[in-house]
Subunit: 423 residues, 2 copies
């Protein structure tokens, strides 16, 4: 059972010319069988697969869609810029405008560097920290995703162990574990890299314990290490500032991506004075990093961030979905564990250790034309309406019924079965 | 002396919010003082700085501009695609179309992976080689540029030495040196990474010695290592196939970028059957890697590559410039060393070890509104005409006169002085 004949045909063609037919985070290899792999159209909160089926998309481009696919305001800013200049031998003045705007919105930030991938930003952050401190050691949390570069990829095939030297891990929100990791690093600690909240794949999410956040800052202050908040996934979705600002904790650097161009390709590293020298010492560049089009997108996206109530709106939608799903699940005897901020939900079935119920439900939701993810946190966009959530909840009600009616025959996904326990 | 008041004002603003005021390959810190840092417009072969000066641009976006800035055919394909879909929760069918097209044009290739930065592609290539061979060692040529990631950056500030473990170098075109490096790697050789021709910064370029190229292939065949041609900079500029195809040497992988989207952000790794399994084993991804807009740009760019005479045209322009510059230099008693393919020229003054003449000439050319680079190879685009080259040559004649008239007072660039001898 696949999504449709056009999707199936494209999969066959892709198998020949793309390794495994598709790679990376958008591969459906770890998704239910009826999930479409190929999409032909996007608008607002909706996606169309290549067989013409429309989906309410609760993945929002894995977070890149903040205001709606093809938001007219952002795309018009891009089109206006592309009519004059995009990629050139030097940057456009938009780079200065954007750095000024972004720095003015993020309390800890005094400088900005722009790049393309979230991984570019996190790799640069670690490199800046090492250049600034002249030390080597970096602490991350277990299972945390900070990108697909050799130093941080969750699947290190083809990576030699030395590329991950001087990196150790602690348990998110566990102060003792952080203390131990810092003590073990001794006088060689360059950086502590944290997610703004725990948003690991295949795991319950967790909001940051303020004591943990403050302790991370304190340990960095005492040791002279750099605190880095990796806001690539959550940035602008939980706050209009750095995500830890509301805890009263300011990092030395924060990394950004996904939302900041509303889908147009741009990511960023923001930093404070504490590491401006290190940032100036490293070499980091890319062929398209200084293109003006995505910077126009980011300027307009940041304007919308400042001037609209998208954040309150997506939080309200998230609450509506969370409450409605709990109700619907209960009607069929299921109990959900929904974790993380309501606007970035991770939705699991209680006790569903091998994710078989979650996969079955996501598959049934896909048949109802709502795209939900069985093991990755989801996203909302400002273009979604309360009626869209009603549509999702009606679909969810039927999907819980489908799962409940086929409980005995549900098998776990063969690959996921082997992955459970760590990503 | 700077380019103009608007440029100067932007530099002041940038200093506050961007480390060093600008970073990466587009920073003018290592360029003559009158070079503009900021550009507001681009069209065809021309750039306009923020003070309204128009330049014939012989850097072509450091190689991204192949058919002309804002080529209507490419940009219309992009606009048409953006009106339907760009970045989504899954890829568009254009990804399959593009993989098929690209693989059909590059003789060694059986599969394709798309990414954003040239560095993404080279890092993936090395990772695939290690995953495929289950070995660790990688041989590169001295001074060769393969990107700005920790394993290959030319300025490793903030990089721990372990990130560059199991990498050794040989001398480009020196068979004995390659033999020695391969012998030293023993049974741990995963890959030999080569530039299609020697195009290192600050150094004369050199075309590949066919014996060297064949020996590289032979050594990889004997040892089971992967041969990787890094065509990010030269791809589609010296051949419509992989750049070593004309030597009869087929790599296992080739890396691409810059030209393939005519400035729109896309890069690629192409591979043969020999490493399809390794390619399927690695994890590599990025938020924007599967966006449809840049794939539409690449499809149209590849169509233009197949259906136009851009290659013959840029070679003819390159010859015209090379011959004309030698003549003009001679009229003022200068002798040039112009190296590399005519359409990707490196232009130095004979005996100008500290580049003082080259910098003075580039500065004088900039005043004449022709953008030439004193230490990096240059590029042509299909939108350039023979009349444009006449314009450049007339400017060059006057610029040689300026340099000749101020010979006694020319000082070397302070930073370059310290760099000479290696990048």
């Amino acid at each position: 059972m696949v999504s449709g004949p056009n999707d199936a045909q494209l999969r066959e063609r892709a198998k020949k010319v793309i390794p495994n037919g598709m790679y990376g985070h958008q591969s459906t290899r770890l998704l239910p069988a009826n999930f479409p792999q190929w999409f032909s159209r996007a608008e607002g909160a909706y996606l169309w697969d290549v067989d013409g089926n429309r989906y309410l998309d609760l993945m929002c481009g894995y977070g890149t869609n903040l205001f709606g696919y093809r938001d007219e305001r952002v795309d018009e800013a891009v089109a206006t810029q592309l009519a004059v200049a995009d990629n050139m031998t030097g940057p456009s003045p938009l780079m200065v405008d954007l750095a000024e705007q972004f720095v003015s919105m993020v309390s800890h930030a005094e400088w900005a560097m722009f790049c393309k991938n979230g991984t570019d930003a996190t790799t640069m952050a670690v490199t800046v920290a090492r250049a600034e401190t002249k030390r080597r050691h970096v602490i991350v949390a277990e299972y945390a995703y900070h990108g697909s570069a050799p130093w941080c990829t969750p699947i290190p095939a083809g990576v030699v162990p030395e590329q991950r030297a001087h990196i150790s891990s602690c348990v998110y929100n566990d102060v003792d574990s952080l203390d131990e990791a810092v003590a073990a690093a001794g006088d060689d600690l360059a950086a502590v890299v944290v997610a703004p909240f725990k948003h690991d794949a295949f795991q319950d999410q967790a909001l940051p314990d303020p004591d943990y956040a403050r302790r991370a800052r304190e340990l960095c202050d005492v040791s002279g290490a750099m605190l880095i908040v990796d806001d690539v996934r959550a940035g602008l979705r939980v706050s209009k500032d750095c995500s830890w600002e509301s805890l009263g904790v300011r990092p030395d650097m924060s990394t950004w991506g996904k939302t900041i161009g509303n889908g147009h390709p741009i990511s960023a590293l923001l930093g404070s004075e504490s590491c401006r020298r290190g940032a100036g010492d490293i070499y980091a560049t890319g062929s398209y990093w200084f293109s003006a089009g995505p910077m126009a997108a980011a300027l307009e996206t940041l304007r919308l961030v400042r001037e609209t109530d998208y954040l309150e709106h997506t939080v309200a939608l998230g609450k509506q979905l969370r409450i409605g799903l709990d109700d619907a699940a209960g009607r069929y005897g299921f109990s959900l564990h929904q974790s993380g901020p309501v606007q970035m939900p991770q939705i699991f079935f209680q006790g569903d250790d091998d994710f078989r119920l979650g996969f079955a439900w996501a598959e049934a939701m896909s048949a109802e034309r709502v795209y939900v993810h069985p093991w990755h946190n989801m996203f909302f966009c400002d273009a979604m309406t309360s009626e869209d959530i009603d549509f999702a909840l009606a679909a969810a009600d039927r999907a819980f019924g489908v799962v409940g009616g086929t409980l005995d025959s549900i098998e776990p996904h063969p690959v996921v079965k082997t992955l459970v326990g760590g990503t």
